[in-house]
Subunit: 412 residues, 2 copies
Amino acid sequence: MARLVLKFGGTSVADPTRIKNVALKAKAELDAGHQVAVVVSAMSGVTNQLVEYCRQIAPMYDAREYDAVVASGEQVTAGLTAMALQELGVQSRSWQGWQLPILTDDVHAKARIKSIDGDEIAKRMAAGEIPVIPGFQGVSERHRITTLGRGGSDTSAVAIAAAIKADRCDIYTDVDGVYTTDPRIVTKAKKLAKITYEEMLEMASLGAKVLQTRSVEMAMNHRVRVQVLSSFGNAVGSDLPGTLVVDEEEIVEQEVVSGIAYSRDEAKITLVRVADKPGVAAKIFGPLSDAAINVDMIVQNISHDGRSTDMTFTTSRTDLDRAVQVLESNRDALDYERIVADKGVVKLSVIGVGMRSHTGVAQRMFQTLADKGVNIQVISTSEIKISVLIDEAYTELALRALHTVYGLDATQ
Amino acid sequence: MARLVLKFGGTSVADPTRIKNVALKAKAELDAGHQVAVVVSAMSGVTNQLVEYCRQIAPMYDAREYDAVVASGEQVTAGLTAMALQELGVQSRSWQGWQLPILTDDVHAKARIKSIDGDEIAKRMAAGEIPVIPGFQGVSERHRITTLGRGGSDTSAVAIAAAIKADRCDIYTDVDGVYTTDPRIVTKAKKLAKITYEEMLEMASLGAKVLQTRSVEMAMNHRVRVQVLSSFGNAVGSDLPGTLVVDEEEIVEQEVVSGIAYSRDEAKITLVRVADKPGVAAKIFGPLSDAAINVDMIVQNISHDGRSTDMTFTTSRTDLDRAVQVLESNRDALDYERIVADKGVVKLSVIGVGMRSHTGVAQRMFQTLADKGVNIQVISTSEIKISVLIDEAYTELALRALHTVYGLDATQ
């Protein structure tokens, strides 16, 4: 007997038939003796349509009005889901963000949740009622409707789970869990039964399609157990068919490497023969930061001649042209010889909390890539991750080789 | 310099381009020195789609959840309209029913407005801001979203106009005013510059397409001057291009007859040789009332033989079959010879407050119809209206003849 929050994404509530299916899953958990709350996204496509209306009317729209407009999508599905539950004989009602309330700051269109009053719904859940709460939306202290930014429904669900001290937050989506790597590329990829919060955050480039980063951070901070699972098929969350995102201590036998992520949204920029003197990095990255361009990996080579060096860094492909522009407009201050820009790169990341206590993980990666003739252009590491930038052409080859070397291949 | 409420229906806010047009009209009134508030319906088609979702999920849906679902359509257009006004440099914001608040009873799906707090928006209007309020919706004392029933946005607009003591409530729609009769049938029909509340209520069969009956009753009770006008073209309400619905005293030269309405949604039922004794009418109409069948005109002929009479009445065509069923199942109690049902009838109504002080209006109607060979089947009258039931085949002929006789034909 557990207290559960079930969250259903846009494809899971895309039409009345699927909403009825959502109600069946929630009722199955209730019938099994659990306490249940449901959080829903807007029907898939609806939010995009509403955003498009806003853009057509005012390219620089008022974020407060934008929030009033786009929050309506979740209002609709919450009402419909409560109806579908009632139709199954379950006590249910919808709770808009302003009714609960879900109090947020007033940074409209990307608000952060400040507090949730979960007392009333917790009381009703204990009495066998299923509250249905629209994801993505809240209300500011000024009584204006706010939204949490795209994908914010995951964050809503985890925050509600934290507020009512739920035993688990099940995120029903269109994939059946988190995999060791992208199964479209590596057919031997395995679904993970469990993964730690930290690993899930690092898997963002895979996981972004599955779970919003902010929701994982919130789950980690509040120690909310999260399960990613498919809304299709007959399984419900309590069968544990998906991937559990949990605290490290809950994973008894931790693999050294849990998964391998990759990102094609990478571009490499090298400033050749930039002056090698104190403050040069600040002069390069200050203007980029001012232009809101995110820089990821940074490598500064040793000096060629005691006076100049090569500075290499990566950014997203969409930001590449702007980044080059910013650097060219600062050419005089930076005093470099030339800029080399390259979009043909990919970032591979080997991830695992087990790395903390195991050595040789990086060496094994480098050796494997060397054996396959893959040149490593840039390296960066964190406590639980090693990332390398390589030629995009080697993506599949490298992914498969690393997947095998770290013992991640499915046995069947 | 006046205080105005402008209400725009679903076709007037059907897409972003039309919403921008709404903003232009509101700004034009502001620029002319008026104080302006805007009330909007949902985009045309949206409410029907939302109602259809509800029906698909739960044929006997919970009206509270239905209200949460369908109120979202107006939430969207209110936000978009405020954005469009801001884009024109006008200070504006949307006010949801629960934010203002528009307090209603909790008869969900057909709630009645109890009170509106207009102080805040009146203050802002005086400062040059344009508040945008979604029509159709309110909030109950239990903090649940309510709606006023189909067409309720007109009622919202009039109620808001009453709350802020507006000088006029302009109802922008897809027709350019109220006509002496249906211009599709009588090409010489004239647009009325003014019409009284009482006449507008009687014109409901024409006016229903133009103005919701409840909104006219509310306008009459609170003495709100209402204008019906087209949202297409360049004219704005202050040019007075439409039809003003006003108090009788405001109309200096009152025509005896203001308009001629007709309704094809009529069916006639005659109970032949029903027992002519006290209580028979109650026995007939009690069961019909219990079955929620609306009865309109009633005629009881004189007794044939001192023991039996013919009872004729009209109902809507959609209710005819059910009405006959009810009567047949009560045959023993009613003791009639047979039922004659007829769908081939139409109701013509000559309407005008001037009738109160003029005689001969009815006689003129009867004579005109007689001259054209039109047989009158049933007659009913009120202080400002004479209605007759005739064979449907004579509809156009009779309408045109009466329109001419009462001097309503356009002179051009």
